[in-house]
């Protein structure tokens, strides 16, 4: 895999967010080496859609999410939001962007300042932007808190550590919602939660999406969670795009060997589905400092051939909004 290419992008005007050739690198100490966290990926998100970004650690999914927020600014590529280029924005334009795209983080507790009252935390965006009078701000904050299922009275007198992990994630969501953003980037929002609480938060996100007309980018390592909430899923590996497809299609008919491997590795809560060893992938994800040539998955790919080392595969269409970056996909175009 390794996929570069933009065959999967929708026509320019259709997408709310359009990312092209995104490049993010981090220096490794002072060695002069660099981590190729994200190298030339492209994707887009349609208005009202939920796009899932899925992959193992080191695949660059979180980095991609933060790069959209310009935290930090990517090293290359373009990110257009509603037709406006973000990477060249500065000053007032950048400030407006901040109100349109919001982010929710993985660790619900670490993403809330432990020394501030919950109401103040949720109100902070309004304070930063100087929106409304103090009374209007409080009214808005209480509305949003109720929408996510947090008692406003308790929020006014409590600090984050007095709430459970799931409630803290609700508070984070409230803070993201208070500015009425168009898009929310959710970076592993349920990975730190227990399964019973995870379901509450996933349901809440679905409800809020419908209620506020949100567009979501949902980043997670758990394919089952991503599949449940997303309309389309993009599978990433070592800073590259492997496969993009509608969620049900991706599960039913995976085309990329890595997607297949990922699906087979997921422990299914059903003993009738016995795991079979021969579908397992060997080895571990290589270092993003010196990624393999050609297709980056070839070192672990069960069907890799010489061509995979020499030539980087491009994303190709398989029909029905399904795209794969592989020289030898598991299924061909219909």
């Amino acid at each position: 895999m390794a996929g570069t290419g933009k065959a999967h992008l929708h026509p320019e005007g259709d997408a709310l967010l359009r990312v092209e050739d995104l490049l993010v690198e981090f220096p490794v100490g002072r060695t002069g080496l660099k981590v190729n966290a994200v190298t030339g990926i492209s994707f887009d998100v349609l208005p009202g859609e939920t796009l899932g970004l899925v992959g193992e650690s080191g695949c660059g999914k979180s980095t991609t999410g933060k790069a959209i927020m310009q935290l930090p600014r990517p090293n290359g590529g373009s990110i257009a939001f509603g037709g406006q280029e973000l990477t060249s924005l500065a000053g007032e334009g950048m400030r407006t962007l901040r109100t349109n795209i919001q982010m929710i983080f993985q660790d619900p507790i670490s993403s809330l300042n432990p020394r501030r009252k919950v109401t103040n935390i949720v109100m902070e965006p309004l304070n930063i932007w100087g929106i409304g009078t103090p009374e209007e701000r409080l009214k808005k904050v209480n509305e949003v808190l109720e929408a996510v299922g947090i008692d406003p009275e308790r929020a006014a007198s409590s600090r984050p550590y007095q709430f459970s992990g799931g409630q803290c994630q609700r508070i984070s969501i409230a803070r993201a919602l208070v500015l009425d953003p168009k898009m929310i980037i959710c970076d592993e929002p349920v990975s730190a939660l227990d399964v019973s609480v995870q379901a509450q938060v996933l349901n809440l996100l679905e409800d809020l999406k419908a209620k506020f007309g949100l567009t979501l980018v949902f980043i997670a390592h758990d394919l089952a969670v991503v599949k449940n909430i997303s309309d389309r899923v993009a599978v990433m590996y070592l800073g590259k795009m492997c496969e993009v497809a509608k969620s049900d299609d991706l599960y039913l008919r995976p085309a990329h060997p890595y997607t297949q491997v990922l699906l087979n590795s997921i422990p299914v809560p059903d003993p009738k589905v016995r795991p079979t060893g021969n579908q397992r992938v060997q080895g571990e994800i290589p270092s993003p400092v010196m990624p393999p040539s050609g297709c980056r998955f070839r070192t672990r790919c069960p069907i890799a051939q010489d061509r995979c080392a020499a030539e980087e595969p491009q994303l190709q269409a398989l029909g029905d909004d399904h795209y794969v970056a592989c020289h030898f996909p598991l299924r061909t175009a219909n």
């Binding site: 758990d222 599949k227 997921i266």
Partner: protein
């Protein structure tokens, strides 16, 4: 102590009788494990499943006697091959650790000594417990590294933990745990820190080693998917007590406890279409200092009534390989009527699945 060769191959290895582990804190007594009984046969694997705070980790550590002395109160019996471990002190337990029972922890990076070579860390218990000489211990360590599937094992012997990848570290950790040939292996969330493709490898490895060595394995995890494919039996824990215990196939096919049912319904599944509504469990687990009277799941249970809130249901055997603690289990009349209510309000589909 019997030599490994003379160990019996079958029969009961471990039996817990009403084990209770409490911690005294300034806020009050935390009833982390509150009356757990079960048996585990030789060569079998048991999955202990629960959410955070359910007491599953404390239970495993209580069995091994790996809890700090201060503030810990342990009642009940832990019968290991007929001997009560609960009455043993530190000195008595030392004979069991490593040789009879050992443990794999969640984070291999913090459980390995960062300043000691891998080879040394594996051979140390061999030399201490089994009195091996240096050459012999190194040869055994090499064999162990091969067994756990570490490539280039000779090179790895002289490497430090930071030179290994996450999956390799967990394999090395398993090699250390297996070094003295334990009869009972505890694996406490052994794959939570690992990527999903590596997790599958490690779980397979533990399975293979269990079969090869005729070990018993207790796999502690929050993930029902992990235990489904890798254990013979499953014990579901909730708020310090056992909610349900059954063989793996029986539990998934014929779950009785509403908590088990709710857990399974709240997990997103790959074979469901996307945007399938999940049935979340409302509320959150109780405070273990003042647990609810009666059934501990009652405050979150859709089928609960007054009796559930007043009387504690005992863990009762429904069949040879299935026991649960509930007044109105799945399939009972009250469950059925509530279920019909949920179907009629559209929360559940008529097939019992989620609408």
């Amino acid at each position: 102590m019997t030599a490994p060769i003379n160990r019996p191959q079958e029969g009961t290895l471990l039996e817990l009788r009403n084990l209770r582990t409490h911690f005294s804190t300034a806020r009050g007594v935390v009833r982390a494990v509150d009356g757990v009984s079960f048996t585990l046969d030789r060569g079998k694997s048991l999955g202990i499943v629960g959410e955070s705070g359910s007491g599953k980790t404390i239970l495993a550590r209580s069995i091994m006697g790996l809890l700090p002395k201060r503030g810990t109160i342990r009642h009940g019996e832990v019968l290991y091959a007929g001997q009560d471990l609960a009455s043993l002190g530190l000195k008595g337990m030392r004979k069991f650790w490593g040789q009879e029972m050992s443990m794999i922890f969640q984070d291999p990076m913090t459980s390995l000594n960062p300043l000691m070579r891998i080879g040394h860390q594996i051979s140390e218990p061999l030399r201490v417990h089994l009195d091996m000489d240096k050459v012999n211990a190194r040869a055994t360590a090499l064999k162990l590294l091969q067994d756990v599937g570490i490539p280039e094992p000779e090179k790895r012997l002289d490497q430090y933990p930071h030179e290994l990848s996450g999956g390799m570290r967990q394999r090395a950790m398993i090699a250390i745990a297996l070094a003295c040939g334990p009869t009972l292996l505890f694996a406490d969330e052994p794959t939570t820190a690992l990527d999903v493709t590596v997790q599958a490898q490690i779980l397979d490895l533990i399975q293979d080693q269990r079969r090869d060595r005729n070990m018993s394995v207790i796999l502690v995890t929050h993930d029902l998917g992990v235990v489904a494919g890798h254990t013979d039996e499953i014990a579901v824990m909730y708020a310090g007590t056992l909610a349900e215990k059954a063989s793996t196939t029986e539990l998934f096919a014929n779950r009785k406890h509403p908590y088990t049912e709710a857990l399974l319904r709240s997990i997103p599944r790959l074979d469901q279409p996307s945007h399938t509504r999940l049935l979340a469990i409302g509320g959150r687990p109780p405070d273990l200092i003042t647990p609810p009277t009666g059934c501990r799941f009652a405050p979150r249970c859709p089928y609960a009534e007054d009796k559930c809130r007043a009387e504690i249901p005992e863990l009762e055997a429904a069949s040879a390989d299935h026991s649960f603690a509930c007044w109105h289990p799945v399939g009972s009349p009250r469950w059925q009527s509530k279920q019909d209510e949920l179907v009629s309000t559209g929360v559940l589909s008529a097939s019992g699945g989620i609408a």
